[in-house]
């Protein structure tokens, strides 16, 4: 298309080289670059799955190719030794609870900041704006002491509140923007009909703000699911570990079972990839809207 259209095509890149190359050659060059970029992006993942099905000898002698015989037993052994079931359970619980706390608390606060007039509103919003840019990593020592003092160190509960608390500012900021874009007339009508603010929020505003909530859920859910640093600091008990912690633990405990590592990594990665490919529009829009709206 791009080559045939030549000058009529307004895309910038397609005729950047038009002086030097004919259309067909240019298209070939574009494809060559895209294919190289794609191969270096997804071949490592195929390689991971290949490795998970190999024997040790196959892994070392047949480095980049597919397995010669499929060793499914690797998956069974890795699942058992890495105790993946428990880790997946922990990750699901922690991600779900963190998102629940975050979405409830931040949407109510964001709505208040978007619609209500009260003293200190501007000041609170400025503090939220300012703390949004501060990653929790830089305050990890005092945060650790705070969590220890509250007696919620080494508990799923504690990690849930650390996650929700440290991502609160961003989420409020995002949702506030969303609520402000909803026309207030609808709410006014409900208020006139005798609904109170919370009812209006619950029955009128939240349903309209579903895309905003979805953005926060995908953006933050992904972050909680993948998070390692805070979990590493606040969770030390093996039974409470999330998937990233469990993988690191597994990797450091059994330091020669390479094919089992590949299997463990494949088991936690393949579902994420399947989910992503199935819902890629949601993922890409959620992750980038989360970024751009800020």
């Amino acid at each position: 298309m791009a080559s045939a259209a030549g000058h009529k095509n307004p895309d910038i890149f397609s005729d950047l080289f038009s002086k030097h190359f004919s259309g067909r050659l240019k298209l070939l060059l574009v494809y060559a670059i895209l294919i190289i970029a794609t191969v270096q992006t997804i071949y490592p993942l195929f390689w991971m799955v290949f490795g998970s099905l190999k024997t040790d000898a196959d892994l070392f002698n047949n480095v980049w190719g597919p397995p010669r015989t499929m060793i499914w037993q690797n998956y069974i052994d890795a699942w058992r030794i890495a105790d993946l079931g428990a880790r997946i359970g922990n990750s699901i619980i922690i991600t779900a609870l963190s998102l629940t706390v975050l979405l409830i608390v931040s949407s109510i606060a964001a709505y208040a900041l978007a619609r209500l007039q009260f003293p200190g509103r501007q000041a609170i919003f400025l503090i939220i704006l300012a703390t949004m840019m501060i990653p929790p990593e830089v305050t990890v020592i005092p945060l650790f002491i705070v969590v220890r003092t509250l007696g919620i160190l080494n508990s799923r509960f504690g990690l849930v509140f650390v996650y929700a608390g440290t991502s609160m500012a961003f989420s409020i900021f995002l949702l506030r923007g969303f609520f402000m874009s909803i026309p207030p007339e609808l709410e006014d009508a409900a208020l006139v009909d005798g609904a109170n603010r919370l009812q209006v929020f619950w029955y009128v505003v939240l349903p309209l703000a579903r895309p905003g909530l979805a953005t926060v859920a995908i953006f933050q859910g992904m972050f909680f699911w993948n998070e390692f640093f805070l979990a590493f600091i606040f969770i030390r008990q093996a039974e409470l570990q999330t998937i990233p912690l469990g993988l690191v633990n597994f990797f450091y405990r059994y330091s020669a079972d390479w094919t089992l590592y590949f299997a463990a990594l494949s088991m936690v990665t393949i579902p994420v990839i399947v989910l992503y490919v199935g819902m890629q529009r949601w993922f890409i829009e959620g992750l980038t809207a989360g970024a751009v709206k800020s």
């Binding site: 509250l150 990233p244 936690v268």
Partner: protein, 283 residues
């Protein structure tokens, strides 16, 4: 009041830690006995007597500058490519964005195996291409370890910036290009006079996002891939901080490091936003 729960969480998990960290940074503390006030000695020690910290600072800065530059430039470049109406473009976009969804731990482990000298994909690939001279133990070689880790961070995030830039490119009105073409503007002129200026808002955000994590979102990869080695060549401030705090029980000293990092991150973010605000983009 509707804001109360949010304020409580913000105060406990964000504001108190900032203030408390500042307080702790002037104390010597093992985390159990009562903190002993030592003035600015933690800070003086950081600057004058902690060689590992200075190495960590250098590495953190190298890491931050390289990832911000390369992620954004590569992301823009790929966005220009996948913004064309060519066959299979959706497939390329989907595939290139994929690493964004995977965790640092998964990616760090996977890449430490790719760099592995005995069964690693990278050395095998180099051998296949006849580049045997380049084969090395990437992560245990002092000359390449930091670069190897930086590459992985770029690998993970480039697709994200590509999609941001793509969204920006698609919001530029097509008729601007048509008019420019009628006026005889070359492709290069169109890129520098239309595309890049109109991409300024997206560029601002894309750089801000990469900048935000550039100084701290390096812990996972370093921890998983090299644990700061060999000989501290991949040590970053956060790994050093965690070692000092949780291996040696120097919580006051680690707090000083954390507070220094906080100041750097805050100053850079706010300066950047201020500059961006005075420029074309209204933040």
């Amino acid at each position: 009041m509707m804001l109360t729960p949010a304020i409580i969480l913000l105060v406990i998990f964000v504001l108190i830690p900032i203030v408390y960290g500042f307080y702790l940074s002037f104390h010597r503390w093992d985390g159990f006995n009562s903190p002993e006030f030592i003035g600015t000695r933690n800070y003086i020690r950081l600057i004058e007597r902690d060689d590992v910290f200075l190495k960590a600072v250098t590495n953190t800065i190298i890491f931050a500058i390289s990832v911000v530059l390369v992620k954004n430039l590569l992301g823009l470049f790929l966005a220009l490519l996948v913004n064309q109406k060519i066959k299979g473009v959706i497939f390329f976009r989907t595939a290139l964005f994929l690493p964004v969804t995977l965790s640092f731990v998964v990616i760090g482990l996977l890449w430490s195996w790719i760099y592995n000298p005995t069964f690693g994909l990278l050395n095998a690939g180099l051998e296949l291409l006849g580049l045997d001279g380049l084969i090395r133990a990437w992560l245990s070689d002092q000359a390449t370890a930091l670069g190897a880790i930086i590459t992985v961070d770029i690998w993970k995030w480039t697709g994200f910036h590509m999609v941001l830039f793509l969204a920006g490119l698609q919001s530029i009105p097509k008729d601007l290009y048509e008019v420019a073409i009628i006026d005889g503007a070359s492709a290069w002129t169109r890129l520098t006079r239309i595309t890049l200026p109109l991409l300024a808002p997206v560029t601002f955000i894309s750089v801000l996002l990469s900048l935000n994590g550039a100084f701290v979102r390096n812990f996972e990869l370093v921890f998983v891939m090299t644990d700061g080695g060999p000989n501290h060549t991949t040590e970053v401030v956060l790994t050093h901080l965690v070692t000092q705090a949780f291996r040696f029980g120097k919580l006051g000293y680690a707090s000083a490091m954390g507070f220094a990092l906080f100041v750097v991150v805050a100053v850079i973010a706010f300066t950047y936003i201020r500059i961006g605000r005075s420029g074309t983009y209204n933040f």
